[in-house]
């Protein structure tokens, strides 16, 4: 891939990571939505683009439902948080947070010359993994990128995605996890 496509890919990873951060007005503005819209249209995902446009324009107060949904899907909820965004929850027998696979992920970060800012950060958080992929792309480490996707990201992401797709009450998150899936899926 050409250099420009690579850095584009870094932007895409970052954009996807950003999309899963807590929705608040510091970033979730018209600017974001038009970027997302252009991106989806560019991909030919017109129906998805339309569904997001609709759900955002449907009510003046579109932010709070997104915040409630983000909390319900990823933070804490009654009856249960739908899809904890942490790899080892899906990879360990007992749904453990910071399980052995998360330790391995952290080790891989170290091997690539990076560390997490927060000492207690749970290493296999979805947004961390996407941000890390962006860093690998920027450093031109495409083999490492593929390795990370195959050995650290893909082993759990489809399970996470399935929960979000089937449980979410908001188009936005369904589209975003599908986008992440699209850009991280293995290609023959």
């Amino acid at each position: 891939m050409a250099q420009s496509t690579s850095s584009n890919m870094a932007d895409i990873y970052r954009f996807l990571a950003q999309s899963l951060r807590y929705p608040d007005s510091s970033w979730l503005q018209a600017e974001y939505f038009s970027a997302l819209d252009a991106f989806l249209v560019g991909l030919g995902w017109d129906a998805e683009a339309a569904s997001i446009r609709r759900s955002i324009s449907e009510s003046a107060d579109w932010l709070e439902p997104l915040q409630v949904e983000h909390t319900r899907l990823f933070v804490n909820a009654v009856p249960a948080v739908i899809a904890p965004p942490y790899g080892s929850v899906y990879l360990s027998d007992d749904g453990m947070l910071y399980g052995p696979s998360a330790e391995k992920t952290k080790l891989f970060y170290h091997e690539q010359g990076f560390d997490l800012v927060g000492e207690a950060d749970i290493p296999d958080h979805l947004t961390f993994e996407l941000e890390f992929l962006a860093l690998l792309v920027e450093e031109g480490k495409s083999d490492e990128e593929e390795f990370f996707l195959a050995h650290h990201f893909r082993p759990w992401f489809p399970k996470f995605k399935a929960r979000v797709v089937c449980e979410t009450r908001h188009h936005f998150y369904r589209v975003i996890v599908n986008l992440i899936d699209f850009f991280t899926r293995e290609e023959m």
Binding site: M1, T5, R14, F15, Q18, R21, Y22, S26, W27, Y32, S34, A35, A38, F39, V41, G42, L43, G44, D46, E48, E64, Q67, V68, T71, V75, N76, A77, V78, P79, A80, V81, P84, V89, D94, G95, M96, L97, G99, E103, K106, L107, H110, E111, Q112, G113, F114, L116, V117, G118, A120, D121, I122, H125, T127, F128, E131, F132, L135, R185, E187
Partner: protein, 751 residues
């Protein structure tokens, strides 16, 4: 949707440039929020493969506070162990202590402040910032204070981290309405009864390790686990102490007992009175001690003289011979006898009198300050720092039990029963603000429907916790707290070596974090930070004495010329020479003028408790070695050890009822209240026919506790009939009666 477009193809299309051009603008805030990564040269492989040992941990899976070390690998806590330097628990920790790792990394833990945008009881959560959360808590609590006065706020705290909030609301805000259930509804009765009799709260300070006989009333050690306490008990047994256990059930302690008194529940005071009466009549008590330190012994002896062995045998449903055997065993081994004061003693609403009787028996046998007896250790001192007592007078003036002239021997705080009734009726004043801190009153206070009514009428409900327990469902604002493994604590653990026969030593062990709390994927805080921020916003900022938990620990340690740095050097535990704990006698108020004056029975008195209605048996509950009340329910490792709480049923009764071991059942109580969930039957000869037993702390109703939700039966849900102890105002929780339900059919229990 362009199904054929692959990622790679897309990245090569012309539309890519247009599509991604706008993206980078969306990261504008990233400079502010920061990337989650920093560049760091990779250290040699394997340098972090091994764990490093971090000292200074203090366990809080229960409240015994064993001293820990953590095995930490690259910031992750991998294992907990006892601190080898400990002279208390030593290298031993219990199953729950080990499972602390699972609490730290429980995916269900609270992670961010949240606002309830749904309803109380059926919450819908929205993550909010700390600023937003604290602003709202401050405004709404202030609103309650302005409208109803400080007494309009009730606080329900539990645990070391709740002390700072509790003192803030009591001393600075000025509310007397503090319900610390884990103390008030548990040990509080014991403490006030012993203070009224021996002048000191007893703790569990019996020198079992060096006793010739140990007497337990309901104590079920082995199922109830506190490491150094068990070490004392087991050392005593190892040394050949005779063990007497009074319990309607074949408990873990009964299995080691020389004498098992299979008593009828609720009648223990009668049993104790008969023993004392017999000892006095036979002259088998410590005459010298009683003469030197006893007060009102004559009135006492006369007052209990009706308590014959025969009367007690009938009342307690135990053989007369056995009562005599117990009394003789105690006398034969006196004064080296451990009369255990108990711990959770809020049983039947006649509990203060029973605890008084235990304290009198301790005095009668002269087993105070001697080997094997009641011996409070001589622990070290530390400094003190906290909120100034600005509003104590106001608080006292509005104390509900003082206003009602009730419960004159109430432990510190206000009887929960009065707080709840006042909130629900609005009389004598309104209680409209609820502050919960680490306590789950849904499962700690009987009559859940009334508790929920209390919560529903509040103007504002704020809860701070580590896990989403039942009470959190009723919060308007829910705050996530750091766990005991990630924080400093204003409480400093101190004590002596566990066995008084060893050289005398003292220890000081503050809680130091074993892992860092700093993270970008969750935002938990400690109680000192949270309350300080709240205090500032409520206008009490000028009274803040410490800026952080760490500073608080520093200041307390500075009082004895220690520091955190020093403690880290000393591997988390400071040791110093101790003092001989033996030799101190205590006066014994056999007849209490103070009680007489307050209008209570001045000598220990047996008050009969309600009998089970026909077809029902009394529900009693106790502890499991792998759980601490309901706090550990959701811990995956512990849950795995004991996934539900089997309901003990007498084997002969079971046969008549057609129930078999392992049958799935529900329970229904005398008021027609059914258990929300089911459990299984344990069929055993090891329980009386009039008694049903189960472990407490199961059957949470909050589905956000994904491991524990709906597993086993919540005993508290079946405790709807209240029994309030007249001296203390604490709830007795064993005056409720149940029947079984199998496949929808209600089964009576034969007498």
């Amino acid at each position: 949707m362009a199904l054929n477009l692959t990622r790679r193809k897309f990245l090569q299309t012309a539309s890519l440039a247009a599509a991604t051009a706008a993206m980078s603008g969306c990261f504008a805030d990233r400079a502010k929020a920061g990337t989650p990564f920093v560049k760091k040269p990779f250290a040699a492989p394997g340098s972090f493969a091994d764990t490093k040992t971090v000292t200074g941990g203090i366990c809080e899976m229960c409240f015994w506070r064993c001293q820990l070390v953590g095995k930490v690998r690259d910031g992750r806590l991998v294992k907990l162990e006892g601190n080898p330097k400990s002279i208390d628990n030593g290298v031993s920790i219990c199953a729950r202590g080990n499972a602390g790792v699972k609490l730290l990394y429980d995916p269900d833990r609270l992670k961010f402040p949240m606002k309830n945008v749904g309803k109380r009881g059926a919450p819908e959560w929205k993550r909010i910032s700390w600023d937003e959360a604290l602003d709202e808590c401050a405004t709404r609590l202030k609103g309650v204070i302005d409208k109803y006065g400080p007494q309009g706020i009730a606080i329900f705290p539990h645990g070391c981290s709740a002390t700072y909030p509790m003192n803030f609301f009591e001393n600075v805000v000025g509310t007397p309405n503090n319900s610390e259930a884990s103390f008030f509804q548990c040990r509080g009765i014991r403490d006030t009864a012993y203070v009224a009799t021996l002048g000191v709260p007893p703790g569990e300070n019996v020198d079992m390790a060096n006793a010739k006989a140990i007497f337990l009333l309901g104590g079920h050690f082995g199922e109830n686990v506190h490491v150094s306490h068990l070490k004392r008990y087991l050392k005593g047994l190892e040394n050949g102490a005779k063990l007497i256990v009074v319990d309607p059930r074949f408990s873990a302690s009964v299995s080691k007992a020389d004498i098992w008194v299979r008593i009828k529940p609720g009648t223990d005071t009668a049993f104790l009175l008969a023993i004392m009466n017999y000892l006095i009549k036979e002259g088998k008590y410590d005459k010298k001690y009683v003469a030197e330190h006893g007060k009102g012994f004559g009135e006492f002896a006369k007052g209990i003289s009706h308590s014959s062995l025969k009367w007690a045998a009938k009342t307690c449903d135990v053989p007369e011979k056995q009562i005599k055997q117990v009394a003789d065993t105690l006398a034969a081994n006196a004064p080296n006898v451990s009369i255990h004061p108990g711990r959770h003693v809020s049983w039947n609403g006649n509990d203060f009198q029973r605890e008084r009787a235990l304290a009198c028996l301790t005095g009668l046998l002269g087993t105070i300050g001697v080997k094997g007896g009641f011996v409070p250790g001589k622990g070290p001192k530390v400094g003190k720092v906290g909120w100034p007592k600005l509003m104590s007078e106001h608080a006292e003036q509005f104390a509900l039990h003082t206003m009602a002239k009730l419960y004159k021997f109430s432990p510190p705080g206000t009887p929960t029963d009065l707080i709840r009734n006042t909130a629900v009726t609005g009389k004598p004043y309104a209680i409209k603000g609820y502050v919960g801190w680490g306590q789950n009153p849904i499962q700690t206070i009987p009559d859940q429907a009334l508790t929920i009514k209390m919560l529903e009428q509040m103007d504002f409900v704020m809860v701070c916790d580590v896990m989403p327990t039942d009470i959190t469902m009723y919060a308007d604002i829910l705050l996530p707290e750091l766990s005991y493994l990630e924080r400093y604590d204003g409480y400093i653990h101190k004590g002596t070596q566990w066995n008084f026969a060893d050289p005398q030593q003292q220890f000081i062990a503050p809680r130091l974090p074993l892992v860092s709390p700093i993270a970008t994927d969750h935002e938990r805080k400690d109680s000192i930070w949270i309350i300080n921020e709240l205090a500032k916003r409520m206008g009490y900022g000028e009274h803040i004495k410490v800026k952080s938990a760490e500073e608080m620990v520093e200041k307390i340690l500075a009082g004895v010329n220690l520091s955190i740095g020093q403690l880290v050097k000393e591997e988390g535990i400071h040791l110093q020479p101790g003092a001989d704990p033996y030799g101190k006698a205590l006066d014994v108020e056999f007849y209490s003028a103070e009680l007489a004056e307050a209008g209570y029975s001045a000598i220990p008195t047996y008050v009969p408790v309600p009998e089970p209605p026909k077809g029902f048996a009394r529900l009693v509950y106790g502890r499991s070695p792998v759980h601490t009340f309901n706090r550990t329910q959701n811990n995956a490792w512990l849950h795995n050890e004991m996934p539900n709480n089997p309901v003990w049923l007498n084997d002969e009764s079971a046969k008549k009822m057609g129930l078999k071991e392992g049958d799935t059942i529900e329970l229904v109580n005398q008021d027609g209240v059914k258990s929300r969930t089911s459990s299984v039957v344990k069929v055993t000869p090891g329980i009386r026919k009039d008694t049903i037993y189960m472990a407490h702390g199961y059957g949470t109703m909050n589905k956000a506790m994904t491991v524990a939700s709906g597993k086993g039966i919540d005993d508290q849900s079946l405790i709807t009939r209240l029994a309030v102890d007249p001296e203390t105002g604490a709830h007795g929780m064993r005056n409720n009666f149940v029947k079984f339900i199998k496949n929808g059919k209600v089964l009576s229990i034969p007498a």
